[in-house]
């Protein structure tokens, strides 16, 4: 099939950037979206042009590196699918496809479609862990964990940290990302001793990094490639409020 690609090109962080249009003939419908981008880049190299920079690594939908906005939607039109798992059979011959980087206050563009998501790292470093040193763990089966809670914790922990939730949100909010991590630990007994400091610290850094607040639109859940539920945002709010009260009491 033939495609017209409208792609955001931006040399570096300080460049203003803009759209460029490219024609691609002979796209195989079985190719993945990123393989289509590879073909485009091969063509650009052939034409002595600079290939389009984009983040990608595992191409199995799990590393969370790929991060494009395709036709206005983070990771494209398919529900529960990362860009790397999106295949060209979902596009039409002759279609114009618009490709942009994730856009958010807290995700500055580094080049073309590559954005800086280290704000996510700083949130995780603020409290996304259980303070257990290597070697000090008790026998694994000493603490039974209700299967339902454990499954829910897994569902939250399935977040791949891609940032689609932020890119989808009109406020550029990271509440789904933070909610997922806070929920994982809130649902497991291992996370309980530090639950108050964890949520307060992570939310504080989230605010510092310039992510917006949540206004319950639900775009994050709709666009999340791992279909992380907004219930995790509710749990985040509950954890936050109860932590605030607990800290006040102390």
């Amino acid at each position: 099939m033939k495609l017209t690609l409208k792609i955001w090109r931006q040399k570096n962080k300080s460049d203003k950037g803009g759209f460029e249009t490219y024609q691609l003939n002979n796209v195989d419908t079985h190719a993945s979206f990123l393989e289509m981008m590879d073909v485009l880049n091969e063509q650009l190299i052939e034409e002595n042009k600079i290939p389009v920079a984009f983040d990608h690594d595992c191409r199995e939908g799990i590393c969370g590196a790929c991060s494009m906005v395709i036709n206005g939607r983070p990771h494209g039109p398919l529900k529960g699918t990362t860009t790397c798992q999106l295949h060209m059979r979902h596009f039409n011959d002759g279609e114009t496809v618009t490709i942009e980087p994730f856009r958010a206050n807290a995700f500055p563009v580094l080049k073309d479609l590559v954005v800086d998501r280290t704000s996510f790292e700083r949130i995780q470093q603020a409290g996304g862990y259980v303070s257990i040193g290597t070697g000090s763990a008790p026998e694994a089966n000493n603490i039974p964990v209700n299967k339902n809670d454990s499954d829910k914790a897994f569902d939250a922990a399935a977040c791949i940290g891609c940032g689609a939730c932020v890119a989808a949100c009109k406020n550029g909010s990271a509440m789904l990302f933070v909610g997922a991590k806070v929920s994982q630990y809130a649902l497991l007994p291992q996370g309980h001793p530090e639950r108050n400091e964890r949520v307060l610290n992570m939310v504080a850094v989230m605010d510092e990094e310039g992510f917006g607040g949540c206004t319950n639109t639900g775009a994050c859940e709709a666009e999340c490639p791992k279909e992380i539920s907004v219930a995790n945002i509710m749990r985040l709010n509950r954890e936050y409020i109860s932590a605030k009260f607990a800290v006040e009491k102390e």
């Binding site: 190719a31 280290t118 996510f120 862990y129």
Partner: protein
Amino acid sequence: MALDSKIPSGPLGEKWSQYKSSVKLVNPANKKKIDIIVIGTGLAGASAAASLGELGYKVKAFCFQDSARRAHSIAAQGGINAAKNYRNDGDSVYRLFYDTIKGGDYRSREGNVHRLAEVSVNIIDQCVAQGVPFAREYSGLLDNRSFGGVQVSRTFYARGQTGQQLLLGAYSALNRQVKEKAVDLFTRHEMVEVVIENGKARGVIVRDLITGEIQRHAAHAVVLATGGYGNVFFLSTNAMGCNTTAIWKAHKKGAFFGNPCFTQIHPTCIPVHGEYQSKLTLMSESLRNDGRVWVSKSKGDKRKPQDIPEEERDYYLERKYPSFGNLVPRDIASRAAKEACDDGRGVGETGMAVYLDFADAIKKYGQNVISERYGNLFEMYEKITGEDPYKTPMMIYPAVHYTMGGLWVDYNLMTNVPGMYATGECNFSDHGANRLGASALMQGLADGYFVLPYTIGDYLSGEILTGKIKTESAAFDEAEKNVRAVIDKLMNVKGTKSVDFYHRKLGKVMWDKCGMARNAKGLTDAIEEIKKIKTEFWSDVKIPGTANELNPELEKAIRVADFIELGELMCRDALHREESCGGHFRSEFQTPDGEALRNDDKFAYVGAWEYKGENQPQELHKEVLVFESVHLTQRSYK
């Protein structure tokens, strides 16, 4: 040079505990004065960086990804082995040790493997305490499943995303140390050279992938935890960025490369579909617990799978290996698939695939149970192929997945270069000629959490008086000069073909001649072909842009230049090893019924190759494998 594995003396089961009680320690006040560099933040790297930080060392960790969490351990699906014996099915540390040695076709070290089996139980405890949401039973206790090559259920799992959950656990431990300022984390930084001063590893040169800046970092020890080199085949299940550069640079600076030709071809991957294909996707081996592998009994059968009646199907694994059936080890399952396809009985458009069928399991347990076990894998399959595996059998074919070879290390996980360590997939140590399923995660975390933090003290206790290592030195000048020269040379070729062009070309030679079956003629030809590719690459590669910016083509070029050299060494190693063992199948050496035929008299050793200079053949050193506890037999899964 004699290779000393430094395996402690004493009975097998007591070696590690005795070692731990007698190893030299570094006292807490001195640890603050010791710098350690860790390259790579996958399971082996993140767990090591976190644990070393907790101990009080000053750690710098580097990864080329934009986040430590994206290292390729994240993609491991099936599970992690541990000798917990929660199932009461007869498992034990010894059995896990024995299965691993046997699975590796008797080409790994007893001492290392027994230690791995011993610490496996601690890993599960550690991960559960970190909040890793493993699968559980209704009792609230941990669930297990079985995996290829063994007859017990010892695999812990988190749906089909075990690697993700374990890595996020290690990543969380790493983040905690970053917050504590015990670890300094550098993302989007790639190691491009190692610095050796007076025979000791003293630091690295890294390239900032955003700005192109070349940086110097010094330390008292350098830990390489950079994963496997399967991307030498271009198409593999590895992530696009997985590469050999760190260990190859280490090799060129003196570290021996152990068993480079030992490559694992994983039996259950989605088949190749076109010229544009950039990578292959694995379908977890755990699928073989419930899926049945088959092809038609007749050649060139183009009927749809549902139109082929039961009696005309050949469930060839169940037929050939009745006691292990679909759960034979990976090398055997892969070769059997290749045989069926070479025999003209392959399925699908290309004839290079076999069926993995869940119809019976769905009938027996219901779709809900199957979806609970493998839901995400089925979804992934459907996304890629457009076919629903609940309704029609999956099509699978073997693909390059894991490299058992890697830098030669001793019991301390130290290479022959003092102060330079290799952990996880990038060392050669634990899996012999074939790795069993769910053992990669076990080894990565064992090395990082429970082995290296002990063994590294043995060396570092001798470094407490060294003082801060300076980056202003002749050794650093020289290393940086080399890096700049390589980059300048690459940028100035200004040829006509892209980096991928050469990478694909190399990959094809490797797959055709150093893949699932190898022979002397093919390997000899491959060595010549690779030499030609090397010359062409350095005279005609085209890298757009500049070196002082984010330039993915330059990143790839640096990696591919090293893959080309490694490819040649792999072929040399495969050529010299005149036997078949595990994943290394020389077609000249097989039993009458087509199984791998080992030659223990001549080849029960680790082939460790020493770099001898540009365009010179490497020199082979042998570490003879001593088996005290295990009796070497012909592996049988029949």
